[in-house]
Point group: C2
Chain length 363, copies 2
């Protein structure tokens, strides 16, 4: 696979820090940390923090006994350490000899860490680093596109294998396990899935239960494999057994909405327009009140990230954006249908993985 260039990512951030007159960007363990510094280090009560500076090279601070581990698993050679009985915030402060006026914080940094930083830097202006980091992460490089494409392929292939194995009597949790296993066989990395049958499928984001599949059942599976930390997010809804006319009717509306959003998505279009394109189809078919969520979200190192395809988001799509296309109709106490795939934004946007949807909708 193509190499991910961490130095380039860091350099681009520092350029934007310079423009915004930010002296320091502090990044505690998070997806952003992994994106910038390679290691998907876990957050704990012991301070670990990556530091990008407009005055100095990139460094990190970590507990003394984890120094070697950090050097092995992140892009940092230069690790400042603190001992178990030292205050890591005092050590961090001492490691910054230059004058600091504005510090950006990684957007998911825990509030309690911010409070401790504020005590060390009482006169500094702390700002949310999301503007700097999120926009950059939303614009995928070729190496990232390659991983997202593979993740999509693993997901579809795993789903198709798993579909052959499900049968009436299985619980949602059992079917979930089957899908995860088949996807992981494809990818060799962890996979995730949500599974809902019948009335349960009408509750978006509901948890899988011990409910059993019937001889005739609506089966909704929202799932994704990973490729080198990059996610896919694909939903199939199918009718197992003798399909009803109502299901088919609703299915076709959702499918048209999904196609309309793909058509609408392109470079230079406001994100909300992609949502509107799908919503128009569902509204006109009379099911508008049952499409209760936004059309989609960006996809990458997180399953949900920028840009969001939602009313009110006027941001323009750019080359390198990747987003889901997932209209749904949820009829309470009956069933829900969601059709979701992932889209690379271009002059003409395209799905991350092409497949014959017939394979699972018309069985």
């Amino acid at each position: 696979m193509k190499t991910l260039n961490y130095e380039k990512r860091q350099t681009a951030i520092v350029e934007n820090m310079n423009k915004a007159e930010i002296d320091l960007f502090l990044i505690t363990p998070s997806i952003d940390f992994g994106y910038l510094f390679k290691g998907f280090v876990s957050l704990s009560e012991r301070l670990k923090c990556g530091m990008l500076s407009t005055h100095d090279d990139a460094r990190m601070i970590a507990p003394f006994f984890e120094k070697e581990n950090m050097q092995n698993h992140t892009s940092f050679d230069d690790v400042i350490t603190w001992k178990e009985d030292e205050d890591p915030y005092v050590v961090l402060k001492k490691a910054i000899p230059y004058d600091v006026k504005k510090i950006a914080l990684e957007p998911t940094m825990p509030f309690e860490i911010y409070i401790k930083l504020q005590k060390q830097f009482p006169d500094v202006d702390f700002v949310d680093g999301s503007k700097i980091i999120r926009k950059q992460r939303a614009t995928k490089s070729e190496a990232e596109i390659e991983r997202l494409e593979k993740a999509g392929r693993y997901t579809v292939d795993g789903m198709l294998s798993a579909l052959d194995l499900i049968k009436p009597g299985m619980t949602e949790l059992e079917v979930l396990k089957l899908f995860q296993e088949e996807m992981t066989l494809q990818s060799g990395e962890p996979s995730w899935a949500l599974v809902q049958f019948d009335e349960n499928s009408a509750v978006p984001h509901g948890s899988p239960s011990t409910r059993r599949m019937r001889e005739n059942s609506v089966v909704l599976i929202d799932a994704g494999s990973m490729c080198d930390h990059y996610f896919a997010d694909i939903t199939l809804t199918t009718f197992y057994g003798k399909v009803t006319d109502e299901f088919l009717k609703v299915y076709e509306i959702v499918e048209s909405a999904n196609e309309a959003a793909l058509e609408a998505s392109k470079i230079g279009i406001p994100c909300e327009e992609v949502d509107f394109a799908a919503r128009k189809i569902i509204d006109e078919a009379g099911y508008g009140e049952y499409f209760t969520h936004r059309l989609g979200h960006g996809l990458g190192l997180e399953v949900h990230e920028e840009p969001y395809m939602v009313k009110g988001n006027n941001r323009l799509l750019v080359e390198g954006n990747v987003h889901t296309d997932e209209p749904g109709i949820y009829i309470p106490n009956k069933f829900g249908i969601r059709i979701e795939d992932d889209i690379f934004v271009g002059e003409k946007s395209k799905r991350t993985v092409s497949f014959d949807r017939y394979l699972w909708t018309k069985r």
Copy 2:
């Protein structure tokens, strides 16, 4: 199992809020959310937030389409909702008609959420809620003690089964999988493990690798099962094959240090004294420089939580505290030995699970 009383937990928090003149405590999805409101809901870019108030009943805010799901999986009946194209922070503000001067935030709340709250409540004093929530969580109820005891038992039983299955040639990752599987067979819940052989064991918190076990190998396994979300955290270090004199010598020192800490731990003793008791043994044996981390940490819904057994922590142990006892000696490029078990604090503290350590040290 004994029932966990969420109402009692919430009432105790609100009492402490009253004392500290805190009007509102905002709790986004986190371990603290699960502790207070039952549901271990995941954090996402869509605002979900539990609210404890000294003026009003407990409520939560969630996306409209997740209302039913929240009612099913948390202690909340009263869920305020926001629609996909609404600003959830505006909706939250409107839901609080009374005057608010001081708001406590869940300590791990993402910084970007705080920034958005601050925009809605510009004149409010935002404080770190850790003092209120962490002390309460560190004092375990009988129902929690029961779960921690079971988690310990599952861990030891799983470890003993797994020990019979490991053999030279296996990689750290393979042995890790074996331990996780055997522990999960006991508990029926996810388990975690770290596995290190030989020189790798000298790096605390190192990641498991494809390094293979030799005919004669130091094997360090740090692992834990769960019981209803409560963790165990137990480390065994053993010598597979023909044990060396050096290993045995160091093992006995670490074992004595572990015993000394158990003896020192009791109600009314400062946390750091428990660390000192173990460290004294290791220092006097001449290995002080190789005991590079604190003696232990609290244990409960998180593997690391308050109270911490570390120099500088003068807090007194109280009944209901539970902490690890994990001295270690790590000799670079040779091997590391850590012996860890979990302790219920009492007039005379005791291990959460009693077992014959001989079963794994003298094989």
